[in-house]
Protein backbone atom coordinates (compact mmCIF):
# COMPACT_ATOMS: atom_id res chain seq x y z
CA UNK A 1 0.00 0.00 0.00
CA UNK A 2 1.45 3.33 -1.09
CA UNK A 3 1.96 6.09 1.47
CA UNK A 4 0.74 8.67 -1.03
CA UNK A 5 -2.82 8.12 -2.24
CA UNK A 6 -3.82 8.70 -5.85
CA UNK A 7 -6.99 7.73 -7.70
CA UNK A 8 -6.26 4.62 -9.78
CA UNK A 9 -7.77 6.13 -12.91
CA UNK A 10 -8.81 9.37 -14.54
CA UNK A 11 -10.18 10.20 -17.97
CA UNK A 12 -11.15 13.05 -20.23
CA UNK A 13 -11.84 13.93 -23.83
CA UNK A 14 -9.45 15.87 -26.05
CA UNK A 15 -9.33 19.52 -25.08
CA UNK A 16 -10.70 18.96 -21.57
CA UNK A 17 -9.04 19.75 -18.26
CA UNK A 18 -8.16 16.87 -15.97
CA UNK A 19 -6.81 16.93 -12.43
CA UNK A 20 -5.10 14.14 -10.52
CA UNK A 21 -4.86 14.31 -6.74
CA UNK A 22 -2.17 13.03 -4.39
CA UNK A 23 -2.87 12.81 -0.68
CA UNK A 24 -0.21 12.33 1.97
CA UNK A 25 0.63 13.21 5.55
CA UNK A 26 2.49 15.83 7.59
CA UNK A 27 5.74 13.87 7.31
CA UNK A 28 5.80 13.77 3.50
CA UNK A 29 3.71 16.22 1.44
CA UNK A 30 3.08 18.38 4.50
CA UNK A 31 6.82 18.99 4.96
CA UNK A 32 8.46 18.51 1.58
CA UNK A 33 8.15 19.31 -2.10
CA UNK A 34 6.14 17.08 -4.41
CA UNK A 35 7.33 15.81 -7.77
CA UNK A 36 5.21 14.35 -10.53
CA UNK A 37 6.30 11.78 -13.12
CA UNK A 38 4.70 10.65 -16.36
CA UNK A 39 5.20 7.09 -17.59
CA UNK A 40 4.08 6.23 -21.07
CA UNK A 41 3.52 2.46 -21.54
CA UNK A 42 6.78 0.65 -22.20
CA UNK A 43 8.96 3.65 -21.34
CA UNK A 44 10.85 4.95 -18.34
CA UNK A 45 9.23 7.57 -16.12
CA UNK A 46 9.85 11.21 -17.00
CA UNK A 47 9.91 14.19 -14.65
CA UNK A 48 6.86 16.38 -15.22
CA UNK A 49 6.88 18.73 -12.23
CA UNK A 50 9.25 19.39 -9.35
CA UNK A 51 9.09 21.58 -6.26
CA UNK A 52 5.27 21.26 -6.38
CA UNK A 53 4.84 23.57 -9.37
CA UNK A 54 8.04 23.83 -11.43
CA UNK A 55 8.09 22.53 -14.97
CA UNK A 56 11.41 21.26 -16.36
CA UNK A 57 12.45 22.56 -19.73
CA UNK A 58 10.33 20.99 -22.46
CA UNK A 59 7.22 20.37 -20.38
CA UNK A 60 4.35 22.46 -21.82
CA UNK A 61 2.61 25.10 -19.73
CA UNK A 62 -0.71 23.31 -20.02
CA UNK A 63 0.75 21.08 -17.26
CA UNK A 64 0.57 22.64 -13.79
CA UNK A 65 0.77 21.65 -10.16
CA UNK A 66 -0.38 22.84 -6.79
CA UNK A 67 -0.02 21.89 -3.14
CA UNK A 68 -2.04 22.67 -0.07
CA UNK A 69 -1.31 21.19 3.32
CA UNK A 70 -0.89 17.45 2.92
CA UNK A 71 -2.32 17.21 -0.60
CA UNK A 72 -1.06 18.02 -4.08
CA UNK A 73 -2.64 18.09 -7.51
CA UNK A 74 -1.54 17.81 -11.11
CA UNK A 75 -3.65 19.54 -13.74
CA UNK A 76 -3.54 19.02 -17.47
CA UNK A 77 -5.47 21.41 -19.68
CA UNK A 78 -6.11 21.03 -23.40
CA UNK A 79 -5.94 17.24 -23.05
CA UNK A 80 -4.22 15.48 -25.95
CA UNK A 81 -4.06 11.83 -26.97
CA UNK A 82 -0.38 11.61 -26.12
CA UNK A 83 -1.16 12.57 -22.52
CA UNK A 84 -2.45 9.03 -22.12
CA UNK A 85 -0.04 7.58 -19.55
CA UNK A 86 0.45 6.67 -15.90
CA UNK A 87 1.13 9.56 -13.53
CA UNK A 88 2.94 9.21 -10.21
CA UNK A 89 3.43 11.70 -7.39
CA UNK A 90 6.42 11.45 -5.04
CA UNK A 91 7.75 13.17 -1.94
CA UNK A 92 10.44 12.75 0.68
CA UNK A 93 9.11 11.33 3.95
CA UNK A 94 10.85 12.65 7.07
CA UNK A 95 9.67 9.74 9.25
CA UNK A 96 10.92 7.06 6.86
CA UNK A 97 13.97 9.04 5.68
CA UNK A 98 13.15 8.03 2.15
CA UNK A 99 11.10 8.82 -0.93
CA UNK A 100 7.51 7.64 -1.13
CA UNK A 101 5.51 7.33 -4.34
CA UNK A 102 1.80 7.37 -4.98
CA UNK A 103 0.28 4.23 -6.43
CA UNK A 104 -0.13 5.90 -9.81
CA UNK A 105 -3.09 7.16 -11.84
CA UNK A 106 -3.82 5.79 -15.30
CA UNK A 107 -5.04 8.64 -17.48
CA UNK A 108 -7.21 7.66 -20.43
CA UNK A 109 -8.02 10.09 -23.23
CA UNK A 110 -11.43 9.08 -24.53
Amino acid sequence: QSLLTQPPSASGTPGQRVTISCSGTKSNIGSNAVSWYQQVPGAAPKLLLSGNIQRPSGVPDRISGSKSGTSASLAITGLQSDDEADYFCAAWDDSLSGVVFGGGTKLTVL
Binding site: S35, A44, L47, S50, W92, S97, G98, V99, G102
Partner: protein, 121 residues
Protein backbone atom coordinates in the same frame (compact mmCIF):
# COMPACT_ATOMS: atom_id res chain seq x y z
CA UNK B 1 22.36 15.63 -23.50
CA UNK B 2 22.34 13.98 -20.08
CA UNK B 3 22.05 10.21 -20.39
CA UNK B 4 21.85 7.28 -18.03
CA UNK B 5 22.35 4.02 -19.91
CA UNK B 6 21.55 0.79 -18.10
CA UNK B 7 22.78 -2.72 -18.74
CA UNK B 8 20.62 -5.22 -20.58
CA UNK B 9 17.89 -7.57 -19.46
CA UNK B 10 18.82 -10.51 -17.22
CA UNK B 11 17.27 -13.91 -16.59
CA UNK B 12 18.45 -15.62 -13.41
CA UNK B 13 17.55 -18.47 -11.07
CA UNK B 14 16.65 -18.04 -7.40
CA UNK B 15 19.74 -17.94 -5.23
CA UNK B 16 21.99 -16.60 -7.98
CA UNK B 17 23.82 -13.30 -7.71
CA UNK B 18 23.44 -10.38 -10.09
CA UNK B 19 24.85 -6.90 -10.69
CA UNK B 20 23.23 -4.41 -13.03
CA UNK B 21 24.78 -1.10 -14.03
CA UNK B 22 23.91 2.49 -14.89
CA UNK B 23 26.44 4.58 -16.83
CA UNK B 24 26.12 8.36 -16.80
CA UNK B 25 27.24 10.83 -19.45
CA UNK B 26 27.15 14.55 -20.27
CA UNK B 27 27.24 15.81 -16.69
CA UNK B 28 29.58 15.77 -13.70
CA UNK B 29 28.87 12.39 -12.15
CA UNK B 30 29.71 13.45 -8.60
CA UNK B 31 27.31 16.43 -8.63
CA UNK B 32 24.26 14.18 -8.46
CA UNK B 33 23.18 11.27 -6.34
CA UNK B 34 22.05 8.12 -8.13
CA UNK B 35 18.79 6.62 -6.95
CA UNK B 36 17.30 3.21 -7.78
CA UNK B 37 13.60 2.55 -8.34
CA UNK B 38 11.84 -0.80 -8.75
CA UNK B 39 8.70 -1.42 -10.76
CA UNK B 40 7.22 -4.88 -10.41
CA UNK B 41 5.15 -6.16 -13.35
CA UNK B 42 1.98 -4.10 -13.72
CA UNK B 43 2.67 -2.17 -10.52
CA UNK B 44 3.79 1.26 -9.37
CA UNK B 45 7.18 2.76 -8.55
CA UNK B 46 9.09 1.86 -5.37
CA UNK B 47 12.10 3.81 -4.11
CA UNK B 48 14.96 1.47 -3.23
CA UNK B 49 17.49 4.00 -2.02
CA UNK B 50 20.30 6.22 -3.24
CA UNK B 51 24.07 6.54 -3.34
CA UNK B 52 26.32 9.60 -3.33
CA UNK B 53 29.05 9.09 -5.96
CA UNK B 54 31.38 11.49 -4.11
CA UNK B 55 31.92 9.20 -1.15
CA UNK B 56 29.66 6.16 -1.77
CA UNK B 57 27.42 7.14 1.14
CA UNK B 58 24.21 5.12 0.85
CA UNK B 59 20.65 5.49 2.08
CA UNK B 60 18.49 2.37 1.65
CA UNK B 61 14.74 2.05 1.90
CA UNK B 62 13.87 -0.27 4.83
CA UNK B 63 12.08 -2.49 2.31
CA UNK B 64 15.36 -3.21 0.50
CA UNK B 65 17.98 -2.78 3.25
CA UNK B 66 20.10 -5.90 3.56
CA UNK B 67 18.91 -7.44 0.30
CA UNK B 68 20.61 -5.17 -2.22
CA UNK B 69 23.88 -3.25 -2.35
CA UNK B 70 24.61 -0.02 -4.21
CA UNK B 71 28.07 0.92 -5.42
CA UNK B 72 29.74 3.38 -7.78
CA UNK B 73 32.91 3.49 -9.86
CA UNK B 74 33.71 7.16 -10.35
CA UNK B 75 36.44 6.36 -12.86
CA UNK B 76 33.83 5.14 -15.35
CA UNK B 77 30.83 7.20 -14.20
CA UNK B 78 28.92 4.04 -13.37
CA UNK B 79 26.58 3.08 -10.55
CA UNK B 80 25.69 -0.54 -9.82
CA UNK B 81 22.97 -2.47 -8.05
CA UNK B 82 23.90 -5.89 -6.68
CA UNK B 83 21.99 -8.85 -5.31
CA UNK B 84 23.93 -11.70 -3.66
CA UNK B 85 20.98 -14.09 -3.62
CA UNK B 86 18.01 -13.40 -5.86
CA UNK B 87 14.42 -14.34 -5.08
CA UNK B 88 11.53 -14.81 -7.49
CA UNK B 89 9.97 -11.71 -5.94
CA UNK B 90 12.90 -9.64 -7.26
CA UNK B 91 11.44 -9.95 -10.75
CA UNK B 92 10.78 -6.49 -12.12
CA UNK B 93 12.07 -3.48 -13.97
CA UNK B 94 14.82 -1.52 -12.26
CA UNK B 95 15.49 2.11 -13.06
CA UNK B 96 18.36 4.34 -12.08
CA UNK B 97 17.82 8.09 -11.95
CA UNK B 98 19.88 11.09 -10.93
CA UNK B 99 19.02 13.42 -8.07
CA UNK B 100 20.54 16.79 -7.25
CA UNK B 101 22.88 16.33 -4.31
CA UNK B 102 22.21 17.90 -0.97
CA UNK B 103 18.44 18.15 -1.04
CA UNK B 104 16.37 15.29 0.34
CA UNK B 105 13.29 16.20 -1.68
CA UNK B 106 15.09 16.90 -4.95
CA UNK B 107 13.39 15.43 -8.01
CA UNK B 108 14.64 12.57 -10.19
CA UNK B 109 15.34 14.66 -13.27
CA UNK B 110 16.86 12.11 -15.62
CA UNK B 111 16.17 8.37 -15.79
CA UNK B 112 17.82 5.33 -17.30
CA UNK B 113 15.87 3.22 -19.76
CA UNK B 114 15.42 0.43 -17.21
CA UNK B 115 16.80 -3.08 -16.77
CA UNK B 116 14.35 -5.97 -16.73
CA UNK B 117 15.31 -8.65 -14.21
CA UNK B 118 13.51 -11.99 -14.36
CA UNK B 119 14.10 -14.53 -11.59
CA UNK B 120 12.63 -17.94 -12.26
CA UNK B 121 13.54 -21.53 -11.62
Amino acid sequence: EVQLVQSGAEVKKPGESLTISCTASAYTFTDYWITWVRQMPGKGLEWMGRIDPRDSYTNYSPSFQGHVTFSVDKSINTASLHWSSLKASDTGMYYCARVVSGSADAPFDSWGQGTLVTVSS
